[in-house]
Symmetry: C3
Subunit: 259 residues, 3 copies
């Protein structure tokens, strides 16, 4: 039995996610489905690809990660199924899988063309329901990935440009890549880049140091901590750092050793 | 094994939905439960009945659709269980099942009166927990529907007035019946009413045409598309149409053929 | 098979909850997991302990209630596992289990120290994923609670101070302890304290009486009702009482018999 995870920008108000689960369970009644999140900002492919990268490898090997953030639904963008050594990824070929691909050993990429595994009527606006959910269900049930369409080469996969931090002699320069529900600001600087004695800034706001736990930080001051997704995070103890800094994705972050 | 879906206006903050699941699983540990949505606007029976109509038939035959939007909880309104050819519906008799009833072959309607299938203490405010969840669990487990109470006739079912579009010689007039998380405006005009050459307006805002996919639309302009719930939707590509139009349920929508 | 419930302040936007489920299912693929809520206000231990108290006993005996509201994550606060006669509770030792402990027969308290049941790499910020989820999974799978660490005595458990109502000759004085999604104001006054003829006030707003169902109340006026969590609730029929009263946790509530 293979687990299916769902990641979408469908939100929690409409029945879209529930309907996808209905479609999956109608095909494969024993399917086990876990929600990763449905609150990706509408159409934000980069955000979804960050979330996937931070999450996919905590699931059992063989898990099918289904991701639908699909501004091009109904257009010429293609639906794909990617098999890596340990996981499957299903969704539109629009960059969603850019970052998981880098970390995984790629086995196959299949363009989904075999309509007998789709719902009968394909809408113009909801391929999550009509194409992706049924394919995930049939795959979970044990169909071979080659049944779903034809293999394509890796260069046909749309990949987002990685936004990498830069290390110079005196500084590490990165950017904000995500802000979470607590207001923690997740940078694109890997934890191992940073020495515990550094200080820094985000935009024009001072980062007072690197600290070992949230509750060890002085009140109201911005600090950095080694984040759980392997990237440096900025936080204010018991407060919302993202709001107080007005941090946005792409904002500059710098660290350096105090002199 | 029968699937149970849950549709409520309980939101995602309080433990109400989790408690209902606890009650179900305490009675029937193998129950499989899917959330349709818990973000129906408080007490909005019409919205819930629209959501149910768009969703119920994507689930496996035999699914039990449990819906609790229940402004009259604790009053004289009655709890009911409806069996159609392919599904079961459980909830208060207040109009929630108006639209699914129209599309399904009705078999029985049972007024829930048999207290041995309820929790022991019945609160005045939470029949989702005390009556509806336990009945759904016992039904999923295989109890006969007639065990739960006595049959009533269809004319005892409370039905909402359908808000149907009107077709005149030159125009199709409908209304807004729902706006989704992306800001798409779902009208009450069935997809098959509309010809691909039409234009129209919602309130005083121009609808520039009918289009085949979101991403094919000119930026910032309002267009229509054949929606996935079988009703015409209005949208702005990569933007929130409902916000820009300030669309509300009941607002007038018109389509006509350009001359 | 033991059910696992999850209660956190992680919200529904980030993948944190999904990741915890991945960790659980990777260890114990047959785990059955129910969300109680993930919308505890950030770091609000008292709120979480109220939610737990209102909910835990609706779940099957043997259920593992995992709760992560953990402002001290990474500091010296300890992770604990509590076994009562009918349930298990897992989380940080910070007061979360104050109110369930009062109602349950306590069997054991274990401080979680056995690292072989944790993930290999322990982050400084996400023990829900690294410690609590894996312990819950191993426990659900049947490990003995003593495998997870050493027993501690009850006086080592951090307990919140109960905020109890006061009964004088003429008055009952309590406070607001929670407001729900509908705007109902849940007090700390048990249902059985109140006689049906009483009136009262919250802050300076009049409570017009005790009533048997929401829909029996006069429009726009504040009434009280026996709440489903066994505490008196204040409400306005089809309206949001908490907003109209601007009620906050701790606000004073009084009831008395009219003369």
């Amino acid at each position: 039995m293979r687990l299916i995870t769902l990641t979408t920008d469908f939100g929690n108000s409409d029945p879209f996610v529930g309907i996808m689960k209905g479609v999956i369970l109608d095909i494969y009644p024993n399917a086990k489905i876990v929600d990763l999140t449905h609150n990706i900002s509408p159409q934000n492919i980069r955000q979804a690809s960050f979330i996937l990268r931070s999450s996919y490898y905590y699931f059992p090997k063989g898990t099918i990660h289904l991701c639908v953030v699909d501004p091009g639904v109904g257009s010429s963008r293609k639906p794909v199924l990617i098999k890596t050594k340990d996981y499957f990824f299903i969704g539109p070929n629009n960059g969603l899988f850019s970052f998981v691909i880098e970390n995984e050993k790629l086995i196959n990429i299949i363009e989904l063309t075999e309509k007998k595994y789709w719902l009968k009527n394909i809408s113009q606006t909801f391929h999550g329901r009509d194409i992706f959910a049924p394919v995930a269900a049939h795959l979970a049930q044990g169909k071979d990935i080659k049944d779903f369409g034809q293999e394509i080469t890796k260069n046909k996969l749309i990949l987002l440009k990685q936004d990498s931090p830069i290390k110079t002699k005196n500084k590490i320069r990165g950017t904000v890549q995500y802000t979470d529900h607590f207001g923690n600001i997740i940078t694109n600087i890997p934890n191992y880049f940073i020495k515990t004695k550094m200080i820094g800034k985000v935009k024009t706001k001072k980062i007072h140091g690197i600290i070992a736990c949230y509750s060890g930080a002085e009140a109201k001051k911005l600090y950095a901590i080694k984040g759980s997704s392997n990237f440096i995070e900025l936080f204010v103890n018991k407060d919302n750092a993202a709001k107080s800094v007005k941090a946005k994705v792409g904002d500059p972050v710098e660290f350096w050793e105090p002199t």
